[in-house]
């Protein structure tokens, strides 16, 4: 620590920061520790060491089915929100039309709207429409909540694009599509990737929209896990949770590699 903080002030700052780091990590580490506990009930402190709960989880048809659904749903959501979001971000940065600010506010509004209510409202309309395929309904709901993330990250990276390079490409005879593909896209690639990764992670973990639109046949991972919490008391629930934690960590490390965490989230 540099000389900015000293004495009691520094001590208090460091004490609180350390305590908060422990606070943040404790529940995750505990879940991971209990997942290898060789006991038939979840207890503290964990006893022995076994991987049998992982074997149980990885042989659990419901969990694997949910995993498959969640991954497909998250991939579809990523594709969908990029397809809608990247052009929209382009319009917001490059466009010059009446009501631009209002439209930007509208496109970002699912972010401040409680997503629990977004899901409920969507359920009502989809029911009226007679749309009964839970997978399609989930895809629509997830794109609604993830598209603002794509817009934010892509808008930020588009604002940093050097338009002179595009002009140069155009002057040298490249058409607009080629210019976008060869000049603009490489410059915003990290923003697009971050947006896509956000969309994937938000979709994979989403509960408040999912809980309305899923049904007993198609239940993504968070819903299955929630059901297991209530019904199962052996360490297979922490094993399931640990798998989810590890997947999330891979996502975070990817994000850190691609754009740097602070930049991705400040967007």
């Amino acid at each position: 620590m540099d000389e900015r903080f000293s004495g009691l002030g520094a001590f208090i700052l460091y004490a609180i920061t350390t305590a908060m780091m422990i606070f943040i990590l404790a529940p995750l580490l505990l879940v991971m520790a209990v997942s290898v506990s060789d006991s038939y009930f979840v207890t503290f402190p964990p006893q022995g060491f076994t991987l049998k709960w992982y074997a149980k989880v990885l042989g659990d048809r419901d969990f694997l089915e949910a995993m498959r659904l969640s991954i497909l749903l998250a991939l579809g959501t990523t594709a969908g929100s990029l397809l809608f979001g990247v052009p929209a971000a382009f319009a917001l940065v490059r466009g010059n039309f009446v009501g631009l600010a209002a439209i930007k506010g509208f496109l970002l509004s699912p972010l401040i709207f409680p997503s629990l209510v977004t899901g409920l409202a969507l359920l009502q309309v989809l029911t009226k429409l007679g749309s009964q395929d839970a997978r399609l309904n989930l895809l629509i709901g997830h794109i609604v909540v993830t598209s603002p993330y794509v817009i934010r990250t892509v808008v930020t990276s588009l604002q940093l694009v050097d338009e002179n390079l595009e002009d140069a490409a155009r002057t040298l005879g490249a058409n607009r599509l080629r210019t976008f593909w060869r000049v603009t896209l490489p410059q915003i690639a990290s923003g697009v990737a971050a947006g896509g990764l956000f969309a994937f992670m938000v979709s994979f973990d989403n509960y408040p929209v999912t809980m309305w639109l899923a049904n007993s046949e198609y239940s993504p991972v968070p819903l299955v896990l929630m059901r297991q919490l209530v019904n199962v008391f052996d360490p297979s629930v922490p094993a399931m949770s640990t798998i989810i934690i590890l997947m999330a960590m891979v996502g975070v490390l990817l994000l850190e590699k691609l754009v740097g965490l602070r930049r991705a989230l400040a967007a």
Binding site: G95, I103, L107, P110, L265
Partner: protein, 308 residues
């Protein structure tokens, strides 16, 4: 004859094509927003309006929602003690969580901004990483820590260290919900604070220090006022997200700390009372919008004051 006519036509058309391509240079940029605009209008805006409308309508015995218009559902939320208590619980839990998050996030954000790069990186990673772990998993982790009876981690620690004689009961209380919400939404406070603190010109603090101000005075008179935008943004985020939460109160609150989100779910999935569920949802949105509006007003006000 025809050929020359065609030639003339082509010659005439030439400038129009040029014109057209210049048009295309500007027009499509705006049009690119259209697909998402239509998508969100149909699957977000229209459903929200529909929900608002059904909150002031009546549901008949077949479950069909229609006229007459009524405000009875809102009256019920206010007048029935059970429901109004849930409303106040939600507000209280959200305010306490955001206040606690502010007090605890401030030191973390300060250390994050002003430490060596390695320390900053580690803290950033620890703060952000849990953000992408499912809320259900994090709630479950807290359930294990706070579990009532001697098998919970907290109770095991307390009893092993002889701090308490018997187990304490925290799980299924409001305290557990506050702890869980704090854990889930803490990053939403740290990040805006850190970004606001990062923007403060270090020369300002150095100047204050050189003029003889002790560290706490530098903090109170320079750092704190300049970080207000981050504070307002973080508080608003944490408040809004806590107020609209469902998973954490469902896992950690049990029957004694039900929040608006849980009440909505109950009304829709158990009671099938759509108009009442919709009315609660509208109230929830109203509270969130009010807080967001207030914070926007505050931020605008500050900007004006700084400019003058």
């Amino acid at each position: 004859m025809t050929t020359s006519d065609d030639a003339v036509a082509i010659l005439d058309a030439q400038p129009e094509i040029r014109q057209g391509s210049r048009w295309r240079l500007y027009l499509p940029a705006g049009l690119l927003a259209l697909p998402l605009l239509l998508f969100l209008t149909y699957f977000f805006f229209y459903p929200a309006i529909t929900l608002l409308l059904s909150s002031i309508q009546t549901q008949n015995s077949q479950g069909i929602i229609g006229r007459p218009f009524t405000l009875a559902h809102y009256a019920r939320l206010i007048n029935v003690d059970l429901y109004s208590r849930v409303f106040w619980n939600t507000l209280r839990i959200s305010v306490i969580t955001s206040a606690l998050a502010t007090v605890l996030a401030y030191p973390v954000a300060l250390v994050m901004v002003k430490s060596r790069p390695l320390v900053t990186r580690i803290i950033t990673l620890i703060v952000i990483a849990p953000l992408v772990v499912s809320v259900v998993v994090r709630g479950y982790g807290w359930q294990l820590i706070l579990a009532n009876g001697p098998k919970g981690m907290l109770n095991w620690i307390l009893m092993t260290l002889h701090i308490t004689d018997g187990p304490v009961s925290v799980l299924y209380t409001e305290i557990a919900v506050v702890i869980g919400s704090l854990h889930v939404f803490f990053p939403m406070m740290v990040l805006p604070l850190a970004s606001a603190l990062g923007k403060i010109d270090p020369n300002l603090e150095d100047a204050a220090r050189m003029l003889g101000a002790p560290w706490w005075k530098v903090f109170l008179r320079v750092t704190l006022p300049l970080s207000m935008p981050g504070f307002v943004a973080g508080f608003t985020l944490v408040f809004s997200l806590t107020a609209g939460s469902f998973v954490i109160p469902a896992i950690l609150g049990g029957a004694s700390a039900i929040m608006l989100g849980n009440l909505i779910e109950q009304q829709i999935f158990v009671v099938y009372d759509w108009p009442f569920g919709a009315a609660i949802a509208v109230i929830l949105v109203g509270v969130v919008f009010a807080v967001n509006g207030f914070s926007m007003w505050l931020l605008e006000g500050r900007r004006l004051r700084r400019a003058s």
